[in-house]
């Protein structure tokens, strides 16, 4: 009984994350069989970098060839298109993409991959506040830690969806996630981690799936905790 209560308390505490997804849609999803999607992280800012593991997470969750969504892994695509999608050469606007497509070899390779949508994700996850302290000691009688620590994390991501074939902005999505992690230590430290980035990834991938596929009902604004 006590064990069940402890596990339930753990689940309650570790699930303390809020995710808010917003969507702005300019055109309906037109992803057809044989089309593929590229998800890329923006890396031009000097102060932060969109995490490759977030891009990988969104890509893995979105990739579902049975449902008609084929995602090209970021590093594979960036290598195949070198040097046109490096941090300093990547197109920042659709006009730059037009200029890039003027290069026949680039256009041919994009067509070979069947690229329909390019999704640019910009943002990062940061620790915004932390408090508490934990002390550990080792003695002849054994070792142990005592104390309590807590920290807040915030994710703020924006995804711009470019329709490569029509050379237009299809829409934008944003994912804001917040969560607090706790670390009580009574002899052994027990980490109760809020998976803020992972929840932002899940929310964004689910919304992108609705966004890109045709005849799917679009969610205006959703919130989960």
């Amino acid at each position: 009984m006590a064990k069940s209560i402890f596990v339930f308390a753990l689940v309650l505490l570790s699930g303390c994350t809020t995710v808010v997804i917003d969507e702005y849609r300019r055109s309906d999803g037109e992803l057809a069989r044989g089309d593929s999607v590229v998800i890329l992280g923006r890396r031009h800012s000097s102060e932060y970098e969109t995490e490759p593991d977030l891009i990988d997470c969104v890509g893995r969750r979105l990739h579902n060839p049975k449902r008609g969504v084929t995602v090209i892994p970021e590093q594979h695509f960036v290598d195949a298109m070198y040097p046109w999608f490096e941090p300093r050469t990547a197109p920042m606007h659709l006009k730059s993409l037009d200029r890039l497509v003027d290069i026949p070899e680039v256009r041919e390779r994009m067509e070979t991959y069947g690229v329909k949508y390019i999704v640019w994700i910009d943002g990062s996850t940061e620790t915004t506040a932390s408090a508490g302290s934990i002390g550990c000691s080792i003695g002849t009688g054994g070792a142990g830690c005592f104390g309590f620590g807590t920290w807040d994390k915030e994710s703020d991501y924006e995804a711009s969806v470019w329709d490569f074939r029509d050379r237009e902005l299809s829409g934008k999505l944003s994912a804001d996630a917040k969560g607090t992690s706790y670390m009580p230590a009574i002899v052994v430290p027990i980490p109760l981690i809020a998976r803020v980035q992972n929840n932002a990834c899940k929310g964004m991938a689910a919304q992108l799936q609705q966004f890109l596929l045709p005849a799917q009902p679009a969610g205006g604004k959703s919130s989960s905790s």
Partner: protein, 223 residues
Amino acid sequence: MAWSKNGFSAVWKITLVSALLLAAACSHTVSVDGRYPQPVGQQHPLTVGIYLSDEFRKFTHHEDSADRDEWNINTGKAQKNLFETVLGSMFTEAVSLSQYPQDLPKNVELVIVPEVRELQFTMPRENRVNIFEVWIKYDMHAYDQRGESVANWVITAYGKTPTAFLKSQEDALAQAINIALRDAGATLYTGFERVPELQAFLANKQRALSMKGDETAGEETTE
């Protein structure tokens, strides 16, 4: 006396080993060995010789200042791979030269010689953001068949890695250097035609090729 001598020897050895261990703890070695993709785009219609000096192929940046640990950063192998891959794909034909200016093949129209001017890096505790940053500056030289200078230009490259991604300081720095080298390759590829002297050299070559094409077409018509 014998005990004392042995005791002194043991203390001396322990001190020496401790000093070496301490020195090693403050010394970092990074060896970057990247593989880089071939650029996608049109090739310039030139036969080019690529000369990468021994110094360039084995380049190691050594730094040991008062406010920093000792760092030995070897980028030679990675930058050799990068320049051979990028320059090798940029032109219709590229020849790797083991020496220069001796024994230059007759068909080579332009020889490209890169040199490292400087490499700088900052650690997360030195900048306000938690990022490892690397800057590399290359001096690029281009010579014609007679060994006369055609163009000199500079390539600056930048790479960064946030601390959150790192396994160790060495891994993070190696990753930032790899990103900087990819950036150098991108700048070399996209900026080549923007160097005025090289632009003129390429225009001359294009003109010669089109004249040759016209002559061939004329001869065929006469026949």
